[in-house]
Point group: C2
């Protein structure tokens, strides 16, 4: 099986690395990081870049497509080259998946119409623009399309996919390999669980960040 993970400019690293670290151990699987251009893809922090040995002109099919989220999604969702590539790869996949705001790219590519779907909790309502029904769930399988919630949810999504593809023994062995026995010191990972003032802190920080980010990307002329 071939897994293609799209790395557009300003993706969020954990969105991509979570699924990678699970799916690369699926028996008989090869993972490819696919950039818009070959070279390096800069993540949203600006100081983490990943080498892309493949680009969207060199990859024409995949068994599993993974679209991570990240602030660069606001540019990617309007990039005809990326949307066209996502549509073409989707036509060849067994599973088309997203983590975080990666689902907005799937939506912009027209793949979520009439489906339940999720994304980072801050951006759920945006999914309606694409004819999807937003839901605050961690992993949402809808036929061959599987969307997952914010950033860290890609690990859960990939384990769910591994169970579907290779069965529970293999999925559990992958979970044990990466010792995924989560014990966060707080139970604040969802707006349903975090204290209201913490949710408000994050909402404000994201809003401020995106205002600045949008200006900066607009000034830079998009891509």
């Amino acid at each position: 099986m071939k897994v293609a993970i799209l790395l557009y400019e300003d993706f969020t690293a954990l969105d991509a690395i979570g699924p990678y670290e699970v799916l690369r151990f699926l028996p008989g699987t090869e993972v490819q990081f696919v950039g818009k251009r070959r070279g390096v893809a800069k993540s949203d922090s600006g100081f983490l870049s990943i080498v892309t040995e493949h680009d969207i002109t060199s990859v024409s099919s995949a068994d599993i497509l993974v679209i991570p989220g990240g602030p660069g999604q606001i540019v990617a969702e309007r990039d005809p080259e990326i949307l066209d590539w996502v549509q073409r790869i989707h036509a060849t996949t067994q599973f088309t998946t997203s983590v975080c705001t990666g689902s907005i790219i799937l939506g912009a590519a027209g793949l979520l119409r009439g489906l339940r779907a999720t994304t980072h909790w801050m951006y759920l309502e945006r999914l309606r623009e694409f004819g999807a029904e937003p839901t605050l769930e961690r992993v949402v399988p809808q036929g061959k399309i599987v969307t997952a919630a914010g950033v860290s949810s890609g690990i859960d999504m990939a384990l769910t996919l591994a169970a579907t593809i290779a069965g529970p023994d293999v999925a559990q062995s992958l979970q044990l390999s990466i010792e995924y026995d989560p014990q966060p010191p707080f139970d604040a990972g969802s707006p349903k669980k975090a204290p209201a003032h913490v949710t408000e802190m994050v909402r404000q920080a994201f809003t401020d960040f995106f205002a600045t980010y949008t200006e900066r990307r607009a000034a830079a002329g998009g891509q």
Copy 2:
């Protein structure tokens, strides 16, 4: 605060990216990926490489040091340049941390003597070589040294650290930002929880992998 994350050849990506994705949002924090050489650091999959803008000759202090694990640790733990760097940086840190078998590098640098410490469950007993007392816990703070269990535990470790440094509100806001509300489809992330036959599968796979890996690295003359 400066966070230095060491990327030696054949590190495991999620070990490094988990803490990165949490700590980079700590207010006033700068994260640096530090390679043995500047350029790129190849992870253990062979097809994921991260750009290293810093190397061990250019970084001489850090407030937080993070040592990830990975098969390359079996070379790094005998590399005098790396051990010397870890000791020198440790002398400057507020926190010296490890994920997975990164703790074996801390042990080899002489930093775990007399301490309780953890690592990936498969390698716990190795910690005794360095005078540490192994414990199958997820995050083990011992003064300024904090060791964490296998691969994915770096997320929990970084959130624990964030709470110590910046308080529970900030730590919870980071958890909510990355929507870390884990819901793995199985409860098999620890050898205390996984079915015995699954644990045996993983033990065998790791043993086989390391036998091949050790031969390959020996044939390549270490680094």
